[in-house]
């Protein structure tokens, strides 16, 4: 049976968890070799994605993302970060992205939730309201 990327990630995560940190480098090398042998190097992106998820879940880290139309000034950014800290418990990992398509405002992503405060979304809402 074909081994799924999710299963590779699970195996890597579990074996790393049991081993001391000094062995990690070696284990990761072995894991890469295993992937090569199985011809699964192309799946690496997915394996990393799932590994990241597993890791964050275990360590209670929530990765969040702030997407804005323009680069945010520091004051707004800290405000948003504080807001996110209120929403989720545990550690938070921040990342930021600029997306011109939003036209204005921002999007907040955490876990599989999305808070949409973009101008694009608001304009779309106004449009549907005006049509009806």
């Amino acid at each position: 049976m074909k081994i799924k990327p999710q299963q590779y990630a699970q195996v890597l995560f579990e074996s790393l968890e049991q081993a001391p940190q000094s062995d990690w480098q070696k284990m990761i090398n072995n894991f890469a070799k295993l992937l090569l042998e199985h011809n699964q190097i192309s799946q690496l992106d997915k394996i990393i994605y799932f590994f990241d998820k597993l890791w964050n879940k275990r360590k209670n880290i929530t990765s969040t993302k702030i997407i804005s139309a323009y680069k945010l000034d520091e004051q707004t950014e800290t405000l948003l970060k504080k807001y996110l800290e209120k929403l989720v418990d545990g550690e938070i990992e921040f990342s930021a992205e600029v997306d011109k398509k939003l036209k204005g405002g921002f999007l907040l992503r955490y876990n599989d939730n999305l808070i949409d405060y973009s101008l694009k979304n608001r304009l779309r809402k106004l449009k549907t309201k005006l049509i009806n």
Partner: protein
Amino acid sequence: MTNKDYIITQLKEQIQDFKNESTEKNFGKVIEVGDGIAKISGLSQVVMSEMLEFKTETESIFGVVLNLEEDSVGAIIFGNYEKIKEGDEVIALQRILEVPVGEEVVGRVLDPLGKVLDSGKAIKTKNYYPIEKIAPGVIARQPVDQPVQTGIKAVDAMIPIGRGQRELIIGDRQIGKTAIAIDAIINQKGQNMKCIYVAIGQKESKIANIVAKLKETKAMDYTTVILAGASDPSSMLYIAPYAGCAMAEYFLDKGEDVLIIYDDLSKHAVAYREISLLLKRPPGREAYPGDVFYLHSRLLERACRLNEKNGGGSITALPIIETQAGDVSAYIPTNVISITDGQIYLEPDLFYQGVRPAINAGLSVSRVGSAAQIKAMKKVAGKMRLEAAQYRELAAFAQFGSDLDKETQTKLERGKRLIEILKQDQYEPVPVAEQVVIFFALISGLIDDVPVEKVSEFENSLLEFVRDNGQSILNNIEQTGELTEEDENNLKTVINNFKDTLDYLIN
């Protein structure tokens, strides 16, 4: 104030009212997509049959959640799934799948999501109904006691259908199943009935013909056609009957009567089987999933007759099932037969003998029975059913011997004329009062001396004659629903008068 200023002030008002708020959404990512099915990760707060929006580079495509699994969500996709890529974002729309309902849908050809398929303008309705709804309970219902006049003599006399009943039309391909349904729609003119025709997996050319015919007979004024054609993805075929039923429920809630035709549920079951297998649900008998029975029972249970307290409306359902080589004991036919309140069974042998509609009166039943007939019809049809049954018995028997007593011979002769009378051309429904006149002529023995091959000619000219010379009798039947003794005698005289004008009856 000029028009322009009006528009501007309106716009300003609208914009002022507009609240500037953020929205919270649940999102996920497509893991796998193919064959109209997507597997999605994330979406932790999504519920069953919630709508999803797939954001592709060019457009948004909609879907519906059908499977909630441990770490993924299975969904069906409406529309062009080829454009969805792995990793695309999916947003939960926080509402159950709904279709537009209202007076606006009448006279239109729509797809199951309410998009317009005819040349007219897009429809805009105030109301939306969820496509899945639990059927009305016992308390809200009342017995079926009003007739649906299909205008088909064989059906109205032998297998009467009541408002709120579910009557299955079953038979092989190319044998006139749809024809019965379309005739029934055409005959609903002026009967206070809205009609919905749901085409599931049908050829678009066939539907184009049907729509043209409905327009020609002005039946489109009260009919909606929901089309999920043979080229549509199976997700569309799957939701089509539920969408049609939701539109019917709008009229039901207004206290109106609706006739809905599902053409046909065999293809619906096949579409659902396809979806289920792709979603990796375990297959059962004939590879259908475990819940095909529920698939149809929950749909047909929504047909009902509500009591006065609940508006008094009704939904009459005529599901159609196509059998393979007359095999009614296959999985889907037996299921639907057991759900419905009776069936109209069409037989190839009869069809090729020229008995059209090819209704097998022996195997066809209506469990509502004569409760759904007007009194006049009850009077004549009861006797007719008996004559037909006796004829069937004798006809098989009479093939062996040639010497028959006189009584048997008259029964056989009358039976032959009865079969002739029940023949009817397509698109020519007969009003109930005229049906009563013909059946009356038969059971009182007034057609016994007409040669069998002349019966249909006799019938047509008799009706013409009665329309000219006995209009009051027709009116009485129409208005009171009864055939009084006096009218009976008058009718006898009229028929005898007519017979005197026929040269082939004068010896």
